[in-house]
């Protein structure tokens, strides 16, 4: 069960607030970053998420969780939504919501799956698909804070066209190593043949367990389970492996 790290007056925390869409950026053909203005947003930690509530004209409403993609930035916050075909909420956020429209959000939520700038130890980020979102917030927070904690990102995705935040990751950052693990089709010239994340990938591109890294794994449930099991088998202390499950594996 997620727990909030940010304490505060209950009148404000866990309260639904209006968030106005001010900008949208296409990340891939099926994912967009939505930038919201939330006056008085109290800030968040990298790794936390918000709950989003949509209400139909007849009062029917439903909620989903979305990780915060941005490092803390005053009144703006960014979510990156991957369209789930036949989904109830994600297609609406991507296609239905117009700049200037408002939705309701509450949060930030989650106090365990977070990276704090005071952390000095090496960090391994293991992302499956849109599971990159909260890990990108950690990368951005590291950069914003001028942290020199060594980061490695292992990013599993189907094909090059699915890469989120491609320009940001290409630009890179000193002390951040990025490795792509393609499952369906790798770009020309790639040395690793396409295939699911394997123990050898974690050995080759991760940190040895005796470096005592903190490991953050995020993605569809099946991906997270598989990666966490492999990491434990390789000798990583389960107490240093933090996971966030985004829901069904979706194949």
């Amino acid at each position: 069960m997620a727990r909030a790290a940010v304490s505060g007056r209950l009148g404000a925390r866990l309260r639904w607030q209006a968030a106005t869409l001010v900008e949208r950026r296409e990340e891939t053909a099926s994912a967009q970053t939505l930038v919201f203005d939330v006056p008085g947003w109290a800030g968040h930690l990298a790794g936390q998420h918000v709950d989003v509530r949509l209400t139909a004209e007849d009062g029917y409403s439903t909620q989903r969780s979305y990780s915060l993609a941005s490092a803390q930035d005053a009144d703006r916050l960014e979510l990156t939504v991957q369209r789930v075909p036949d989904g109830e909420v994600s297609p609406y956020l991507i296609e239905g919501l117009a700049v200037g429209d408002r939705i309701e959000i509450r949060g930030p939520v989650g106090g365990w799956f977070v990276w704090r700038p005071e952390q000095r130890e090496p960090v391994l980020l293991v992302a499956g698909g849109s599971g990159l979102v909260p890990l990108m917030a950690m990368i951005r927070a590291r950069e914003a804070e001028g942290s020199r904690a060594p980061f490695r990102l292992l990013y599993s995705l189907r094909e090059p066209a699915d890469r989120l935040y491609a320009p940001d990751l290409e630009r890179g950052s000193a002390g951040l190593d990025v490795t792509y693990v393609y499952t369906r089709s790798a770009p020309q010239g790639a040395t690793r043949p396409p295939g699911r994340l394997a123990p050898a990938d974690l050995v080759q591109w991760g940190w040895p367990p005796d470096f005592e890294p903190t490991v953050y794994v995020c993605g569809p449930t099946g991906f997270v389970e598989a990666a966490a099991v492999q990491l434990v088998a390789q000798g990583h202390d389960p107490g240093r492996i933090r996971t966030e499950r985004f829901g069904p594996s979706g194949g």
Partner: protein, 199 residues
């Protein structure tokens, strides 16, 4: 007031389908309790909120009466299968009582006069979803329905709406209450038929 999203339809139960699965409609107001009905005179009644850090706030009956009131009309769903539509209440929103409480807790354990307890995620008590109710159908709340005041959390099965409410303890970790430790569900969503542990 929720923000309406134009063009959002969502997937919802069939139109007009107000009965959660497994429920039938009743027009009486059955009384089910775990024990004898506590009788708490208003002069002695008090309500407290205690945070995970031990900070305490307390309201006497007169102090409660001085707070802004609301008059929610809500449907009730009892785990024993009856549902009652359109019940009208008067009470103080938990949003009002909890607004200035400093806490990072995620759970609430509700305590009643008579020793009854029930657990509820804190988020389910906020945002216009819960009240300390003291009038029902235009009358003072009778003791058999939890008077002088009860918790009202209509979106969960009725055992969560603790009668004779006395206080709320905010907790970092969930702890089961009276029925929950006897096998009832920790959450109790009528629409998902969460009657017992494991549902």
């Amino acid at each position: 007031m929720p923000i309406i999203s134009r063009g959002f339809h969502g997937r919802r139960p069939e139109a007009g389908h107000k009965l959660p699965p497994g429920q039938y409609e009743t027009r009486d107001f059955p009384v089910l309790s775990a024990g004898p009905t506590p009788r708490v005179p208003r002069e002695d009644w008090e309500f407290s909120v205690v945070t995970e850090n031990g900070e305490r706030r307390q309201w006497s009956w007169a102090e409660l009466m001085a707070l802004p009131r609301q008059t929610p009309t809500v449907d009730l769903h009892c785990v024993t299968k009856w549902s009652k539509f359109g019940t009208s209440w008067e009470g103080v929103s938990l949003d009002t009582l909890l607004a200035d409480v400093e806490s990072s807790a995620h759970y609430a354990l509700v305590h009643s006069y008579g020793g009854y307890t029930t657990n509820i995620p804190l988020a389910d008590l906020l945002d216009g979803q819960a009240w300390i109710a003291f009038r029902y159908g235009g009358e003072d709340l009778p003791p058999e329905h939890g008077g002088p005041a009860r918790l009202l959390v209509p979106h969960l099965y009725l055992w969560k709406s603790a009668k004779w409410v006395r206080g709320i303890e905010l907790r970092e970790h969930d702890e089961q209450g009276f029925w929950e430790s006897a096998g009832y569900h920790d959450y109790g969503d009528p629409w998902r038929e969460q009657r017992y542990q494991g549902d």
